[in-house]
Symmetry: C2
Subunit: 716 residues, 2 copies
């Protein structure tokens, strides 16, 4: 842990649990941010003491004001700075002198407005480091802590949030205002609500760790526009999940190029490849959401209800159509409809009317009152095969909505299984929905959203992996030699590594490589071919030719000494017709692997996630179907396996149409070795093994071609 | 048009525009359906006269009651029957005697409860036919007509809907209650609201045509659990779109098998293959929705705003983050961000603050009041490159939400371009949202839903096809001969047609077929092969062997007379080892087509949509990627083209990795011929051409193998 991280860890606790606060730069102009911040702190009945600091005022909101923060005699735990951006640094300097360790800077006009703002931001950072202070912001809405021992609304939000167990972190302040409004109407409560803005000092990573240890927080929500350090984010999410079992939900803006460029123009941030984000988040166990509604739909499911033991649900409805829609949605989202035992069926037959549907989905029919819901609910909860109950209601003319809502609350409290509800409609069901939400029954206007949310919760607990599997490190590799090959090539201003060298690097890293040898004359080629054994492949070797096939520099399936000799001359002739200037070293003569399946393995580097490992089937599968899987290195056997199984064309590797299955274990080993190579050698910017030819099960695989793009700025 | 359809057409108009109504079976028990129906008619101030009919009451709701409907002296246009299901038929008989032509039967307990109910339903149908009456229902919520000249709420809905231009049709009555409640809260108005229940007589098809001609209806919404006649539904939707330009939106329950079985258990309906539904709906221009929220999101977009000229939008926001989310969603849904002219840019630079983002998405920043929205709105509407405007708002502390909503309404009225809004949040934005919705500005809580809805509207108008292209009919076919081959095979109790006959049927229907001939001895096989030219393919011919490859009955690439002779004997030996009982006719010797791309063409029959044409690339593309396209026959050139282009592997046909493009025109012709064959010959239950080998552009294609499964119940 870095020193700053350690300092932040201590200071953040003080920021959220201050005994005293200075609001620096406040004033008496109602309806402005500097005023609203102070007034919100007072209005929410903050349990500590607040000191207004304002150069020109005697008092603000009936509270005595100080000219400078250093004028305050008492100790101050937290400063909220609301001065114009041009003087923030001076206020911060005084906070440092005063010994204040925690600071929230609300003011805007920093990195997001360009070069000058960035300069101002750097200045803030320097001051913070000088005094061992920690800053949240600038350019943020502020922070909220609903803990009744603190009661802090140090934000310019219109209203204080309800108390709850969701911790919310947002890079965008404006989005917070929409989220707060949305949450209030649905009685969604927060433990902490944190707008962290430009994250000049304290980052989302620091805050995630804080919420992990915060016992008031059960679920962590994060809205991000810019992933500054992807690896740190992944590690934080993994730590949170494995150490605390808390889920991390993420909404990441800037998915598309246009979105990313819009994000760049308003935060100065730079977005990477969204496919890599997707893969990395999944790998870290982060639940990525498509929009704020989905985020809160899932969040309340986690916050309000226990983890389900399985995906087997019972559906209870007073309307057939919606029962069908819910069933469709449940199956679509990978859930199962529980099967009722004879006992449950008998009970339902006895106690529900004849026209009710007593199978799952249970239809208590349109004229059902709360008593019928009671019977169906108790029956479903008691049933062994049921691990969650979905309650559907439509507002029919005889439906006593509020009584049924109360019944759902009452009955479900007696059981430990999760319950979810969808009272369909809006105005008439509103009072019933209110009862459900106040009593922490997750409610969804659409049964489809209910099923989807439950499914995400179920999958999170199913896939949660609290036992980190030790990473396998191959020791039969010679990193030093590989470094010297790469460094030498970079020194010689190569952009690409010559192919024979690329292949030999892979060989040094334990990859199976086809037998091959450089031949510099037709006769030598024939001799080499004879030694390797026919058929062979012949490929031109020239530093000037990257795409050998395009230059007609590759011939497959050479079957005799005579053919080998002729092919040598023929290739040279053809290549020189196309590229007369090419300097030719000779021909690489290689064993030809028959009847294997071609796969592609690769390394890329992402600006925020670092080395990425890629896998896919060769040829059209990659080109036409874009059927690839990505993971952030390092990868272990389980991750490598999941990469291989993720592609749609995996079935081909399993063997279709009577073909034998391919050697998956061999691919897995190559992927792990590749991941190791990627981490060991930052000189490799991109690497493609295309193809790796995979034989039948237990028979291995062979690298036959590889390309390495060098990272010319790196020499190790 | 059938006689019943013609009768319905006349009667439906009376059902929705009655001058007088009898409520048959009503009573004085408040809170029951028979009472509520009558009271709703009175409460809504129906413009005609209502007659309660109740055997045991003098008056109901202060209105004089009649013992029987025949006791009423005045003419009656519409009867609403609310008697228990066991006596409905008697009431209906009396309605017939009274000369009432339009009847809505609310009562439940018919087809949906099983055999007995189905019997009762058939009885109703017979009576209706006897008297030339038309029935809506049974088992429905009733009907609503908001036309102020009628004011009819003949339903047991809790509340009357607002007046509007959406026509809503639902098979489920209970779903209607949820929809009404949802719509009321959002000020969504309806022209007609029709719950048609078990559709014993009047079907959704009759009602779609009614709404097509109803000038109060601009958009038609349909909730269906059972598609009784898929072809009629397709035709109706196509007619609606081409004749009236009105969109048809559909929510179809029973997508999954479990959902379909749940639907079957509550309506007695049977669902087909959802992929076929999907293809058929698309082909008919029907907009399929995933849930009721999406359905209304799209419906209000159609109902409230003009058709967009293009997909170029301007986004106006007071918050950067939501601007990014909206941009992401827009691009994801196939929209484009309009580019502002220099004039617009200059205007924005002049009139918006320095920290505003004046490019698209326009960010008027957090402290924006209505005046800034005014500038941005006018600028965007005036900009030539903008064809729709999206307005985003987050409720920041200075945001005057209602004033901005009014500004959006006021400014957008001055332009003919569509405007959509997303005021994010819930409680604080509610009053503003209310202003928008009352003024027919489509509003969405999520910008993502806004983009998606606009995109569906845009695509509908883009793809609308009001000029039906004449269907090409090939006349170079001999249907008579094909019928006799098929009939003969059915008579001989064949399940599959022998392969050589299958191929010859295709030949008769103008498909290019490889040269081939049956050989019955090794010597004959050698001679045939010599005549055809090497290489050839040899295939065993036996009525007992369907899967020739599995029985080792196929050998490719035979290159000489000697090889042909030996192969003949070798195949027979191998086949007899596997299937000693097989009766062998001989060997089919065929030309071997080299270097073609294998595609698959097929026919299936769906219980509600009839013959379906299938297309895909052969081998793994179909098996692993399920990469196929489906259309309901008949198909024309445009549809055939869209089928070919729809598959993901289309790129392979276009030619990748230096390969020449394939002969798409030849595939297109085969698809149209196949569609014609499917319609001409109901004896064909399933047909697979696997493969059709497609050569390079202009070089044609060849059927090399075909399989026909016979419809043993059909002889033409």
């Amino acid at each position: 842990m870095s020193i700053r991280t350690e300092i932040h860890k201590q200071n953040i606790v003080k920021i959220f649990n201050p005994k005293s606060i200075a609001v620096v730069g406040t004033n008496n102009v109602k309806g402005t941010v500097p005023y609203d911040i102070l007034f919100n702190i007072l209005k929410t009945e903050f349990t500590g003491i607040v000191f207004p600091v304002s150069p020109g005022e005697k008092s603000i909101c009936s509270v005595k004001a100080y000219k400078y923060v250093v004028d305050i005699n008492d100790a101050v735990d937290l400063a909220i700075i609301v001065f114009p951006n041009t003087v923030c640094h001076m206020a911060l300097e005084q906070c440092g002198q005063k010994g204040i360790k925690g600071v929230v800077i609300i003011s805007a006009g920093f990195k997001e407005v360009g070069e000058k703002g960035l300069e101002r931001e750097k200045q803030l950072k320097q001051i913070a480091e000088k005094y061992d202070m920690s800053i949240i912001g600038p350019n943020c809405l502020g922070i909220i802590n609903t803990d009744p021992n603190i009661n802090l609304n140090a934000s310019f939000a219109r209203k204080m949030t309800e108390q709850g167990s969701i911790g919310f972190l947002s890079q965008s302040g404006a989005l917070c205002t929409a989220v707060l409004d949305y949450a209030l109407a649905k009685h969604i409560g927060f433990s902490k609500f944190i707008s962290f803005g430009n994250k000049v000092d304290i980052s989302e990573i620091d805050l995630i760790y804080y919420l992990m240890e915060d016992d008031k927080t059960k679920v962590i929500l994060l809205y991000l526009e810019e992933v500054t350090d992807g690896r740190a984010l992944m590690k934080a999410a993994r730590d949170v999940t494995s150490l605390s079992g808390k889920p991390v939900l993420l909404l990441k803006a800037g998915r598309t190029e246009a979105g990313a460029s819009a994000a760049a123009s308003h935060t100065g941030s730079l977005a990477g490849n969204d496919e890599i984000y997707d893969a990395a988040f999944k790998q870290a166990g982060i639940i990525r959401c498509d929009n704020i509604e989905e985020m809160f739909n899932i969040a309340i499911a986690f916050a309000y209800q226990p983890a389900p033991r399985s995906n087997k649900v019972a559906i209870i409805t007073n309307a057939g159509g919606p029962g069908v829609l819910t069933t469709d949605a449940a199956i679509h989202d990978g859930l199962q409809l529980a099967k009722f035992s004879e006992e449950t069926t008998r009970e339902f037959r006895k106690c529900l009317p004849a026209n009710a549907n007593i199978k799952n989905p249970v239809d208590v029919v349109g004229d059902a009152h709360a008593d019928r819901y009671n019977i169906a609910l108790n029956g479903a909860f008691r049933e062994d095969d049921v691990d969650a109950v979905f309650v559907i209601l439509t507002p029919q003319s005889m439906t006593d909505i509020e009584t049924i809502a109360k019944e759902v609350v009452k009955v479900s409290k007696q059981y430990l299984k999760p319950v979810y509800a969808s009272f369909m409609g809006e105005a008439d069901v509103a009072a019933g929905v209110d009862i459900l939400l106040r009593n922490k029954i997750p409610h969804y206007i659409l049964p489809e959203s209910m099923c989807r949310s439950f499914s995400r919760v179920y999958r999170f607990y199913r896939d949660i992996d609290i036992n980190p599997h030790p990473q396998r490190i191959y020791t039969d590799v010679d990193t030093k030699t590989v470094h010297s090959i790469l460094n030498e090539a970079i020194k010689n201003n190569h952009l690409y590594l010559p192919e024979d060298e690329a292949v030999s690097i892979l060989k040094i890293y334990g990859f199976p490589v086809v037998s091959s040898k450089l031949a510099t004359s037709p006769d030598e080629a024939a001799l080499v071919a004879l030694n390797i054994g026919f058929p062979v492949v012949m490929k031109i070797m020239s530093d000037d030719i990257i795409h050998k096939s395009d230059a007609k520099g590759v011939v497959l399936n050479i079957n005799s000494v005579e053919e080998a000799r002729n092919t040598y001359s023929a290739i040279i002739e053809q290549v020189l017709q196309i590229m007369p200037e090419a300097r030719i070293k000779g021909m690489q003569v290689s064993e030809m692997i028959l009847s294997g399946e071609e796969v592609i393995l690769g390394i890329k580097r992402d600006p925020s996630f670092g080395p990425i490992v890629m896998f896919g089937l060769g040829g059209v599968y990659v080109e036409v179907f874009k059927d690839i899987s990505l993971r952030v290195a390092p990868i272990d056997e389980i991750i490598a396996d999941s990469m291989i199984k993720q592609i749609r064309s995996y079935k081909i590797l399993q063997g279709i149409r009577g073909k034998a299955p391919r050697d998956i274990a061999a691919i897995r080993e190559c992927l792990i070795r590749l991941s190791q190579l990627a981490l060991d050698c930052p000189q490799i910017k991109e690497l493609d093994i295309n193809p790796l030819i995979v034989l039948e099960e237990t028979k291995g695989c062979y690298v036959t071609d590889a390309r390495i793009l060098l990272n010319t700025s790196t020499v190790q």
